[in-house]
C-alpha cells in the first residue's frame, strides 16, 4: 500500500519548535552575534570576524582553565566509574537490603547542586565544620580555602560523593539484566571471578556504562555550582574551571565578545565528545545485531 505523505503533521511539531527557538536557538544566536562583533554599548555592533576566537585560542588563561577542567573530569571519571562498578557488583541483589541500598544511593542525586556545595562548604570549614575541625584536631594540616591541593581534594571527594551513585545505579541495572544462565554456564566452565567480570558482566553492562561515562563527562565538564559555592574558584585560580572562568569573564569583567567566543568553543568541545560517544554507541549496537 502506498502511504500518502501528510505534511500537515509538521504543524504538530510547531509548538516544540517555537519553545526550542526561544529557549535555545535565539539565545545561542545572540551569543554568536557577540562572538563575531564588538560593541561599546548602545546596541551598536562592529564586525570583528574571528578576532575574539583568535584571542581566546591564544589566551593563556583559557588554556589553564581548560587544563584544570580536563584534569578534574579525568580524575573524577577515573574514580567514579571503577568505584561505581565495584559498588554495583557488591550490592545485595534483591530483598529489603537491595531496596535500602537503592534508596540510600539515590539520595545524593536528589540534592540540589548548590545545597551539595553548601553542605560540603560547611562540612569542611576548619572553624566549625565537622570534617575540617576534626582534621585540625587530629593535627592534619587541611584548609581548602588557602591550599590548592586541599581545595582540589575537597571538590573531588564532593563530586564522588554526589555522583558515584549514578554510575553505580546504572551498572546495577545492567547487571540485573544478565540471565542466571550465564553465571551457571560460567560455573560449569570453571570460570574465575575475574573472567566472569571480564567476559560476562563487563560486556553486558558496557551499554549502560557508556551512557554513565557520557553523562558524567558532560556534567563534570560543565561543573559550576558546587565549586562556585565551595571555593569560588580559589585559592587564586586553582579551582577555576571553564564555567567559572566563563562567568567571571562575561559577568565579572563584562568582556562579552571574548566570553561569547569562549562559550561557543566550549559548546563545540562538548558537542564533539558527545558525538564521538554517540557514534561508538551506534556502531556497537549495529555490531551486536
Amino acid at each position: 500500500m502506498e502511504k500518502r505523505q501528510n505534511n500537515k503533521a509538521w504543524l504538530l511539531v510547531l509548538p516544540v519548535l517555537i519553545l526550542v527557538a526561544f529557549s535555545a536557538v535565539i539565545p545561542l544566536m545572540t551569543v554568536v552575534n557577540y562572538a563575531f562583533n564588538d560593541t561599546f554599548g548602545n546596541n551598536q555592533f562592529f564586525w570583528n570576524g574571528l578576532g575574539w576566537f583568535e584571542e581566546m585560542v591564544r589566551s593563556e588563561r583559557l588554556h589553564a582553565a581548560l587544563g584544570r577542567q580536563i584534569l578534574f573530569t579525568g580524575i573524577i571519571l577515573l574514580i567514579e566509574v571503577p568505584l561505581g562498578i565495584f559498588i554495583a557488583l557488591h550490592m545485595p541483589k534483591k530483598g529489603f537490603w537491595a531496596s535500602l541500598c537503592l534508596v540510600l544511593m539515590a539520595l545524593p542525586l536528589l540534592i540540589p547542586f548548590n545545597v551539595v556545595g553548601t553542605i560540603w562548604q560547611i562540612f569542611c570549614r576548619i572553624d566549625i565544620g565537622l570534617l575540617g575541625r576534626g582534621m585540625a584536631e587530629l593535627g592534619v594540616d587541611y584548609n581548602y580555602t588557602n591550599d590548592a591541593f586541599d581545595a582540589w581534594l575537597t571538590l573531588i571527594v564532593m563530586d564522588v560523593w554526589h555522583w558515584t551513585s549514578l554510575v553505580a545505579l546504572l551498572c546495577f541495572a545492567g547487571l540485573r539484566s544478565i540471565p542466571d544462565a550465564f553465571y551457571q554456564a560460567a560455573r560449569i566452565d570453571q570460570s574465575s571471578r575475574w573472567d566472569i567480570f571480564r567476559h560476562i558482566e563487563l560486556p553486558k553492562m558496557s551499554g549502560v556504562l557508556l551512557i554513565a561515562v557520557l553523562l558524567r563527562f558532560i556534567d563534570s565538564f560543565m561543573i559550576y555550582t558546587e565549586p562556585f559555592v565551595v571555593t569560588g574558584g580559589g585559592p587564586g585560580n586553582a579551582t577555576t574551571f571553564l564555567s567559572i572562568d566563563l562567568v567571571k569573564m562575561a559577568i565579572g569583567q563584562f568582556d562579552l565578545g571574548p566570553a561569547a567566543a569562549f562559550s561557543l568553543m566550549y559548546f563545540l568541545i562538548i558537542l564533539l565528545v558527545s558525538w564521538v560517544f554517540y557514534t561508538v554507541m551506534v556502531s556497537r549496537d549495529e555490531g551486536a545485531q
Binding site: 544462565a181 570453571q190 570460570s191 574465575s192 573472567d195 567476559h199 563487563l202 560486556p203 551486536a288
Partner: protein, 358 residues
Amino acid sequence: MAKITLSNLAHRYAPLGSQASSYALTEINHVWQDGGAYALLGPSGCGKTTLLNIISGLIKPSQGRVLFDDNDVTGVPTEQRDIAQVFQFPVVYDTMTVRENLAFPLKNRGMAKPDIQARVALIAEMIGLEELLDSKARRLSPDAKQKISLGRGMVRESVNAILFDEPLTVIDPHLKWELRTQLKALHREFGHTMIYVTHDQTEAMTFADKVVMLHEGRIVQIGTPEDLFEQPEHTFVGHFIGSPGMNLLDASIHGDLAMLGERAVPLASAYGTVAGRTQIGIRPEHIRVMADGGLPAEIRAVENVGHRRIVRAHLDGHSLNIVLPPGEPLGTGTLHLQFPPDKINVYADEWRVAGSIR
C-alpha cells in the same frame, strides 16, 4: 561418562511450614543409564528444569541423593561435577571468538595449549563451526550460538552428562529439525549421557530413546515414544502426548466389557473389580469408522489439516476426537465407530490398570 542415580529425591523452593511449601518435585527414584538419550517431558511448571538443575548441581535438593556412578555428588558443587549444560538462551562469551569460547573450559582446567587446539578443532568439526572459528561469537545467529554452548560442553572429554534445558526455544523452526538431527547423530557417535528437557512432545519423541514424563513434580511414566503413545500409564500422559490427545471416556468396567452408559464396548482382556473413577482411553488415530452398527457418534466439526482430518464428534454427550485419513466428505450425519479392543486402555483414578490376558 556415567550412570546417574536419583535416589529418594524431592525438592521444594519454600521452606516447610511456610504457605507455599508445596513440593516442586516429589519422591523421585530413577536411574539414567550411561550413554542413554533421555527426554524429560512435561508442561511448564511440572518441575523438569528443577530436576535438571539438581542433576547439574545448580540447585541442592531438599531431600534425597544424586549419584554419578557410585559416587554421591549431592553436596558437590556444579563446577566439580563435570557436566555440561545447554541453556534455553544461548550462552556465549561475547568478547571472545568462537575458538576462544570453545577453548575456555579447557583453559580454565589448565590443559596444555597444543591439546586444547587439537580438541577445539575436533569439536568445531563435529558441530560444523570450523569456518566460523575466528569470528566474534556475538555476531552469530542464535543457532550458531547454541552450537557453541553445546560445543563448550562437549569439549571436555571427561564430561559425565550433557544436560539440555529447552535448547531450541529461540531457534527458527526450520533449523530446529536440523539441530535435533545433529544432536542425535552426536549422541550416536560419542555416546554421552544426554538429558533433554522440553515441553514439546515432537522434540522429545524424536530426540530420545527413553522419554521421562513429568507431571506435577512426579515421574508418571518412563518409556519409549511408542510406550507413551500406545500405553500411557496415566491419563495425563494420554492427554499430553498426541495431537489431539487421547479420548478419555467415563465407563464402568464389568469383566471384559466397558459400559459407556447403556452401550457395551468389548475389551481385549478381563478386569476384576476396578475401584475408583474408571475411564477408558482410546487414541483418536485408533478409532475405526464402519458402515453400520457400532457406536453412533454425531459429527460436530471436521478440521482438515491436509494429510489427515480431525473429526470432533459427540457420543452420548461425551466429546470425542477421531483422526481419519483424507477421503470422502463426511457430511454432518452420524458416524458408526468401532474401538479396537487391543487399543483401549483402562484407567482407575487416572492410573492405567492392566487386565489379565484371557
